[in-house]
Each structure stands twice: as structure tokens, then as C-alpha cells.
């Protein structure tokens, strides 16, 4: 079983962000913290004994590193009362480089965290300022070093497809980050989300995002740099040194069960997908009153499961079983967008770049993708 815990608070909002997060008072943090533990307790009771053994735990956000390393450790201690940690359990915390010093990493590590996911995004101060990040490049490097020094596995998030000036620095940032020796890299293309400050600036013509071709070329170049430096791609946006793939992350693509707790968290358990209310206040209210926190709930039938398998599996380099796909893929293969091997098909890096188009074409024709 895998557990995702959502911490929906940030110190300030980044210019491009539309995640479920908000700036809130310490009081609200405390109320939420309390509600979280209540939900974890409730869920652990009715989920079935065997599901209480944790394969992985992921504390994400928002910015969970608003809590100090020691608070995280105490928080996890509470969680582990309801879900059992084993020697192989992967425990990840997302950390904003502005928040923690060496001691925090060590304390978190002592509390059971064995993987840090660092929100580096870039190692150019200009780009960081443009993105509205709270930290500088130096802080990011420092934080990376401390995280690595704690002995945990470390992943760095980086952004690409940045506006003109930032584009040059994306490859520099990547090399610089790789020089620090992280175990894992997540590389995300900057996307414009409606009504974010960045989207407004683009609308006003103050900044222009790169065109399709530029962004594609950049991604392919970054992917090949990663490969040369020994980071293997295992999913569209994820790369790692051999053996350091995020198991929690992989679980999403291979449709393993996971339980998400907290505002807006999603779960897949016993072929049911469900999610919590994304409003923090409502979530707290519902937990307090013992009401339902559910926002969506969907039972997946066989064809939906198969569609999901294709749609999620093709994001990974493991790909999917060829027999699952009812369409001919000869054309895609000839275009160099997919590779067939040992009865499986997977996307090449160029194919991954157009994965939406490819997947939409390969899904079964029936209306099997109805979502709740």
C-alpha cells in the first residue's frame, strides 16, 4: 500500500502554480494537521489490515517543508501509528530549498524520511525570480548538499520550456544540478495554467513561452544529457540513476493501489478511484463533523481499467503489453515514435513529447473513459 499525504500550504504562491495550495496562518496549519491525522486514523481502520503495510509514503504539497525537520519527524511518528513502516518503505518529503538547513534534513531523516524531493526548478536567479520562487540558486545548491549529506536519496525538480532567457539556463541548471550528484531528476515542462500570474503576463505580451519546436528540441537535448550522465528515463518526466526510480511515483503509472489523504488527495483502492474535497476549510469541517470528505468516487470496469493501463503505462519506459492495444502501431513505429520489444510497446523520447496525441489514438474506441 502506498500513502500520499497532501500538505496544501505554501509561504507564498509561485507565478505559474495552480496546485491545490494556499497561504494560510499557523492556526489553520494546526487545524489541518489535526484533521489529517484524524483522516489517517479513520482510513487505516476501514482499509483492511494488509493495506496498513506501507510500500511507500509521500508527503507532498504545497510545501510540507513549512514544517521544520523535527515537526515532520513528529508528524510521521503519528502516521506510523496507523500505517506500518518496514525496512524497505520509501518515505519521501517535498522540500522547498528556502526552508531547511542541514539539521532539518538530519532530523527528518531520523524520523524515517529516506528520500527528499527538492523543488530546485532552476539554478538561475533570474529564472527563479521570474517564476516567483522564494529561494535563490545558492540556497538551492546548499539545500541539495545538505539533503545529500543526510544520507537520504535526493531528487531534484527542474523546469524546462521556459521563456527565452530561461531556456539557455535550463541546460546549465541541469548540468549544475547533476554535478551535485542527486539520485533522481524530475523534469517538467512549464505549462501555462489559466489565471495564474504567469498566464496573465503572457496574455499581456510581457513574456512569450517557447514555440512547440523549440520546446521539443530542448526537451530532447535535456533527455540526452541526462542519459549521458547516467540518468535513465523511466517516465515522461522522471529520470534516475539505476535503481533509484521513485517507487511511489511508479505506482501511479502501474496502477498499484494508493491512498491519498488530505484536501484534494486522490486514491486508487480496489479498482475505485476517489478523491477528497480540495477546499481546505471544507475538508477540515467535514472531518470534524464526521461527514464525508469525498468529492468524486468512481468504480472502474474492465474496459476502463484497460484504457487506464494504456494511458498510464505508455507514460513509462516499461510501456504496455502490445496485445492490450487494439490499433495498429506500424505507422507510429515507422515514424520513430514507438518501439516494440518482447511483446510490449513503449514510446521513444520523441513519442513521449506527443504522448497525448498517440495515446488518444491508441485508446479503444468505445466510450470507456467516462470520468465521474
Amino acid at each position: 500500500m502506498r500513502l500520499y499525504i497532501h500538505w496544501p500550504f505554501c509561504v507564498s504562491r509561485c507565478a505559474y502554480c495552480d496546485f491545490n495550495s494556499r497561504v494560510a496562518s499557523r492556526e489553520l496549519h494546526a487545524l489541518y494537521h489535526h484533521a489529517l491525522i484524524t483522516e489517517i486514523e479513520n482510513r487505516s481502520r476501514c482499509i483492511g489490515e494488509e493495506r496498513r503495510d506501507l510500500g511507500s509514503l509521500y508527503l507532498g504539497g504545497g510545501t510540507p517543508s513549512i514544517m521544520k525537520g523535527e515537526e515532520v519527524a513528529r508528524f510521521l511518528e503519528e502516521v506510523f501509528r496507523y500505517f506500518r513502516r518496514g525496512p524497505g518503505t520509501e518515505v519521501t518529503v517535498e522540500v522547498n530549498p528556502a526552508d531547511w538547513c542541514a539539521g532539518d534534513f538530519i532530523q527528518a531523516r531520523e524520523g524515517g524520511v529516506n528520500r527528499f524531493s527538492m523543488g530546485v526548478q532552476s539554478l538561475s536567479d533570474d529564472v527563479l525570480a521570474f517564476l516567483g520562487r522564494r529561494h535563490s540558486a545558492n540556497q538551492a545548491v546548499e539545500a541539495m548538499r545538505s539533503a545529500l549529506a543526510s544520507g537520504a536519496d535526493v531528487s531534484a525538480d527542474l523546469l524546462c520550456a521556459l521563456p527565452a532567457a530561461g531556456r539557455l539556463s535550463a541546460s546549465d541548471s541541469l548540468s549544475d544540478v547533476l554535478d551535485l550528484g542527486p539520485h533522481h531528476i524530475s523534469l517538467y515542462g512549464l505549462t501555462l495554467e489559466k489565471s495564474t500570474p504567469l498566464a496573465k503576463r503572457v496574455e499581456l505580451g510581457e513574456v512569450a513561452l517557447p514555440g512547440e519546436d523549440e520546446a521539443a528540441d530542448e526537451y530532447l537535448a535535456l533527455v540526452s544529457t541526462l542519459g549521458e550522465r547516467g540518468y535513465e528515463q523511466y517516465e515522461i518526466s522522471n529520470f534516475s540513476r539505476p535503481g533509484y526510480e521513485s517507487r511511489h511515483n511508479l505506482a501511479y503509472w502501474s496502477r498499484e493501489e494508493y491512498l491519498g489523504v488530505g484536501a484534494g488527495a486522490h486514491s486508487l483502492i480496489a479498482e475505485r478511484r476517489f478523491s477528497n474535497r480540495s477546499s481546505v476549510l471544507q475538508y477540515i469541517e467535514n472531518i470534524k463533523s464526521g461527514g464525508s470528505t469525498l468529492e468524486s468516487y468512481e468504480v472502474l470496469n474492465l474496459s476502463e481499467r484497460e484504457s487506464e493501463e494504456i494511458m498510464l503505462g505508455l507514460r513509462t519506459t516499461a510501456g504496455v503489453r502490445e496485445e492490450l492495444v487494439g490499433h495498429s502501431v506500424d505507422g507510429l513505429e515507422a515514424l520513430g515514435l514507438i518501439v516494440r520489444r518482447l511483446g510490449r510497446i513503449r514510446l521513444t523520447p520523441s513519442g513521449m513529447l506527443v504522448s497525448n496525441t498517440i495515446i488518444a489514438g491508441l485508446l479503444p474506441d468505445v466510450d470507456s473513459l467516462r470520468c465521474a
Binding site: 501511479y252 494511458m311 488518444a360 489514438g361
Partner: protein, 604 residues
């Protein structure tokens, strides 16, 4: 009523010269419509006409007018269209009248189409009352306009009446002139019935409604009627007239104008121009009918939603009833699915039909670029008519391609003559002669390929003469041209909707424009897609739609798969609605936008 007290007349006027306004005044003065209730331009019944300020359908309104000592007159005002596309409708309306008011705007002077229609009326033996309108305008030039009218009709300029349809000045005098100068209808009411169908419309309850001019005999309710040309037999359910609403009556006598309804629902069975007679007491001969209107401009009309195909067919059936010039045949386009190849009198006619289909029948349509009909002679001496460029035989099999030409008359102030002569040349026109009508106007006569006119000739004419030039034309048959079929190929597959027959010298420009436009409109595919314009096997223009490079969701937050699923579901759904041209997926909207834009600049 005594036939001697009936007057049947129409108003010939160019668009905007004030025909509807004048008709309104008539309706008021005769108390047919109380003035406070006067809906503007009552004769223009169709909403669409009202908006465009043009009258498509001829209709008749009955008015009562007393002149002096209680002498009662019945005035039947028959409406006529003003646009050159509809000159055949004018000719139909004229047959129902004994006289016509020739109305000219004092600030504009005579327009070419008015001259054309005036000649039609003269040929038909109608009495013409020349009238200058809008004399209230400061820019009115009554003297000059009256001179032009007098010259045209060969009368004294002192006989030209002056009115303001707006203020009503001179309108009473005009009505008096109508009564005094236009002869009453002749025709024996004792003879077997002969009534001419000069227009028709459709009513959901009453079925087909035919507007008739009774020439001889009498048509009455309950009569068993025979439509002589078609042989259709039917009982007459209702007889009546418009005044301005539908009023039913016992009968209509020789000399009168009104409507009949038969309950016939099948729109194709009643033909405008047919003669109605009594089954029991049949007339020997048909009245001289009208010439069948010949559509000269053709375009494919397709429903945007394939499911609407049947509805489109029904709608065309119904439109045809009130618009006998419209023709249509089923066709099938690769790009657009099932639709109809429709024939129109001209571009305006085409637009009106399209708008009526949209407005009255709620149909969303794609209309391909209009083309004319080509007369094609093949090497084995066969002659075929090509209404759809994609039906053009192979270049190798062609001996000669002939296109329809018109004899055009353009009236233009001398200052703009040079511009217009240039336009005529650009459009492959053959200049013939030039006549100075007055100091204000020159008449240019030339031959032009109809294909040039169906595009934007009219707009060009107006813009190059600051709106002063006017055009009239008549068809003079087919003449050989240097014409080739241009195909547009997407990824090597020809797309019929974009094929065109063009002058060889313009093929490259046209091909380039279309391929560029398609390159912009067709979304990128997973591979490079060439768009080519080709004559036979020879490519004359080429563009490439570069392969799609990036379409990816880079992140899924905390296992939120639903968001991604929704997106892909939408994408899948969109894919299903795509039209496939070979391996290329093209959203129908791309075709539609390309066609819309292309319409403006179909080949020269």
C-alpha cells in the same frame, strides 16, 4: 368589381432607391394599413429581406383607392426584386402587370439594372410611369435625373413625376397617375379559366400557396383545377388576396391578382410559370410561360453535422417552392460528406439561400467556393456540362473547355471610367464600346466571363468607382477559354472540395493561396504533411505542414489521474469527429474556414 377599375402594377427600382418606402406610403394613403400600425416596409415579409433591404419574392398586395367622385379602384401592387440576380423574377412579375412605376433616386441617378428592367417592361408592352424619388434630399438633382429618365424612355422630361416617398410629397399625384395612365386589364371572364402562376410560397397549414394573375375566366373556391404544364390536378381549397394580410374570398376574375391554395404539400409539383385551368372546362393552350430560370452559379452545400443531411434535403424542397430558380442534386464529397450541388442565379442568390437555410431551418452549413457551369468538349467529340470542378474529365481527354460569358453594361461617371476599364481588362473582359449617356454617366459595354462576376467583381466595381458604377448583364452563352482544373492534394490525396477550374495564368497564384491557407488551418499531425496544388500531375504550388512535436502532460499531481483521463477523453472524442483524408486527420472546421476564406478569392 368592374375590370375597368382594376390596375395591376409594379415598381421597378434599384436597391435603396425607395421602392419599399413608396409602397408603404401607398398602403397608408389607401388605408390598407393604418399608418400608426404601419410596420416598416410591409411588403418585405421575410425577415431576411427586411434586413438586407432587398425583396426576393414577388408578391401582390391589394389596395382600394377612390379617385374624385366616389370612383372606386382596386390597385394590385406586385412586388419585384431589384437585384440583377433576380432579373428573371422581375420578368415574371411584369407579366402580371399592365404598368410599372420606374422609380429613380434623385441623388443617385439611373443604375444599370434599372435600365435593363425598364427595357424588359417596355418589351412586355407595359405602360411606364417615370418617377424621381427623394426630392426632399439636399443632394437631389431632379432635373438631371428626369432628363436621364426621359432619354431612356423617349418621353418629355416634363412628364417625369417628382416624389418624396419619405415625406409623402407627390405620392397622391403618383397614385392618380397610376389610375389614369395604366390601362385596366383586358381578358374575357366568360372564357375557360387561364391563370398564370407568377410566384409561390409555402404555408405549413395550407400547403403550397400560388400567386396567380387571372388572365381569362374565373377561379373559385372548390373548383377542380388542372395545372396545365405539369398535369397536376387538385381541388382549390382557398382563393384570396393579400391586403396586406391574407384574406380569402369567393373567386378571382379575369384581370385580378391573388392567391390560391390547393393543399398540395409536395413543393415540387407546382411550377411557377404554369397555367391553371378548370378541369371541367379546360382552356386549349397554356399562357406564354416564363423562361425557366437558368442557374449559372454552382456550389456544394453540406451540413456541418452529417445527421442534418435529411433535414437539408427537406429544407431545399421547401425553399425551392418559393424560389424556383434554385436547383439541387445530391453529391458526395470526401472532405465534407453528403450534401447537395446547388445552382443559383448569382452570388447574392446563393447567399440568400444560405441564410434562409440557416435562419428559417436552423441548418449549419458549409458552402464550397462557387463555380460556374462549364461546357466541356472531349476528344471523342462528346459535350458535357461540368458543374463541379471535380467532375472535370481528365486533361488528356479534353478538346476544349468553354465557359459562360455575359454581355455586361456598366454605367459609370466619367471620372472613374479609367478604373473600370482596367478592372474589365484584369477580369479577362472584352471591351466593346462606350457611349456617353449624359455629362454624368458613361455606358461601357463589354463581354465578361461569368466566373469573374460570381466572385467579387461587383465589390471591385463599387470600390473602384466610389460606389457610383453599376452593372447589368445578360447571358450570351459559352466561349472557349484557357482553362485548367486545379487540384489540391493533402498528403498526396486530392480533396475535392478545393478543386477549381481556373485560367491557366492564374493557377499558380490561386494554388499558392489555398495551400498556404490550409497549412495554417490544418493542425499538425504526427508526420509532415505536404499540401500541393496541381494541374494534372504537375505541382504548381506546395506547402508543408510540419509534424507535431509536442503534446504532452508533463505532470500528474499526487496521483490525480482523472484530470488526465478527461483530457484524453476529449482528445479522443475530437478525433472521432475528424475527417480523414488518407492518413491525415482534419477537423471539419478547418475545411470550413478554408472554404469561407477562399470564397472571396476564387480563381480568376
Amino acid at each position: 368589381m368592374d375590370r375597368n377599375n382594376i390596375r395591376n402594377f409594379c415598381i421597378i427600382a434599384h436597391i435603396d432607391h425607395g421602392k419599399s418606402t413608396l409602397a408603404d406610403r401607398f398602403l397608408e394613403i389607401t388605408h390598407t394599413v393604418p399608418s400608426q400600425k404601419m410596420a416598416n416596409q410591409y411588403l418585405d415579409r421575410m425577415e431576411l429581406e427586411r434586413e438586407r433591404g432587398i425583396t426576393i419574392k414577388a408578391q401582390a398586395v391589394r389596395m382600394h383607392y377612390s379617385l374624385g367622385e366616389g370612383e372606386e379602384y382596386r390597385l394590385n401592387l406586385i412586388d419585384t426584386p431589384g437585384h440583377v440576380d433576380f432579373s428573371y423574377e422581375v420578368s415574371r412579375s411584369l407579366v402580371a402587370c399592365e404598368g410599372a412605376i420606374l422609380l429613380v433616386d434623385a441623388s443617385q441617378g439611373i443604375e444599370a439594372q434599372t435600365v435593363g428592367n425598364a427595357y424588359l417592361a417596355l418589351e412586355g408592352g407595359l405602360t411606364i410611369i417615370p418617377v424621381v424619388n427623394k426630392i426632399d434630399l439636399p443632394a437631389a438633382d431632379f432635373e438631371d435625373t428626369a432628363m436621364e429618365l426621359a432619354d431612356l424612355l423617349g418621353v418629355d422630361s416634363g412628364d417625369v413625376l417628382a416624389v418624396s416617398a419619405k415625406t409623402g410629397e407627390g405620392v397622391e399625384d403618383l397614385l392618380r397617375a397610376v389610375v389614369q395612365e395604366i390601362p385596366p386589364p383586358s381578358g374575357d371572364p366568360e372564357l375557360p379559366l387561364r391563370a398564370l402562376v407568377f410566384d409561390s410560397t409555402y404555408d405549413v397549414y395550407k400547403g403550397v400557396i400560388a400567386f396567380v394573375r387571372v388572365k381569362e375566366g374565373l377561379v373559385s373556391q372548390g373548383m377542380k383545377a388542372l395545372f396545365m404544364a405539369t398535369g397536376v390536378k387538385s381541388e382549390i381549397n382557398e382563393v384570396g388576396y393579400f391586403s396586406p394580410d391574407m384574406i380569402s374570398c369567393q373567386d378571382l376574375e379575369a384581370g385580378d391578382v391573388g392567391y390560391i391554395s390547393t393543399g398540395i404539400k409536395d413543393v415540387s409539383r407546382i411550377k411557377v410559370g404554369d397555367t391553371i385551368t378548370d378541369q371541367k372546362r379546360q382552356a386549349a393552350d397554356l399562357l406564354p410561360g416564363y423562361q425557366e430560370p437558368k442557374p449559372m452559379v454552382f456550389a456544394g452545400v453540406y451540413p456541418i453535422e452529417a445527421d442534418d443531411f435529411a433535414d437539408l434535403g427537406d429544407a431545399l424542397d421547401k425553399l425551392k417552392l418559393s424560389d424556383s430558380a434554385l436547383t439541387y442534386n445530391r453529391e458526395n464529397s470526401r472532405a465534407l460528406g453528403f450534401g447537395f450541388r446547388c445552382g443559383f442565379l448569382g452570388l447574392l442568390h446563393m447567399e440568400i439561400v444560405q441564410e434562409r437555410l440557416d435562419r428559417e431551418y436552423g441548418l449549419q452549413l458549409v458552402v464550397t467556393s462557387p463555380t460556374v457551369v462549364y461546357e466541356v468538349e472531349t476528344r471523342d467529340a462528346e459535350v458535357v456540362f461540368v458543374r463541379n470542378p471535380s467532375d472535370m474529365p481528365d486533361a488528356a481527354a479534353l478538346k476544349e473547355v468553354r465557359e459562360p460569358y455575359v454581355q455586361a453594361t456598366i454605367l459609370v461617371p466619367p471620372d472613374y471610367m479609367g478604373n473600370i476599364l482596367e478592372l474589365v481588362k484584369e477580369r479577362r473582359g472584352v471591351y466593346q464600346e462606350m457611349v456617353y449617356l449624359s455629362g454624368r454617366r458613361v455606358e461601357i459595354r463589354c463581354k465578361l466571363p461569368l466566373a469573374e462576376i460570381v466572385v467579387d467583381f461587383y465589390d471591385q466595381l463599387k470600390s473602384r468607382s466610389r460606389g457610383y458604377a453599376s452593372l447589368d448583364y445578360e447571358h450570351i452563352g459559352f466561349l472557349p477559354g484557357n482553362l485548367v482544373k486545379l487540384d489540391i492534394l493533402i498528403n498526396g490525396e486530392p480533396v475535392d472540395a478545393f478543386s477549381a477550374i481556373v485560367d491557366r495564368n492564374h493557377a499558380h497564384d490561386y494554388g499558392k493561396k489555398i495551400s498556404q491557407r490550409l497549412r495554417q488551418l490544418i493542425p499538425r499531425q504526427l508526420f509532415d504533411v505536404p499540401v500541393q496544388a496541381a494541374i494534372g500531375g504537375r505541382v504548381v504550388a506546395r506547402e508543408t505542414i510540419k509534424a507535431k512535436r509536442k503534446d504532452v502532460l508533463s505532470k500528474c499531481y499526487g496521483g490525480d489521474v482523472t484530470r488526465k483521463k478527461k483530457l484524453l477523453e476529449k482528445q479522443k472524442e475530437g478525433k472521432r469527429r475528424m475527417k480523414m483524408v488518407g492518413k491525415v486527420e482534419i477537423p471539419q472546421e478547418a475545411f470550413i474556414s478554408a472554404l469561407r476564406a477562399t470564397r472571396e478569392e476564387t480563381p480568376k
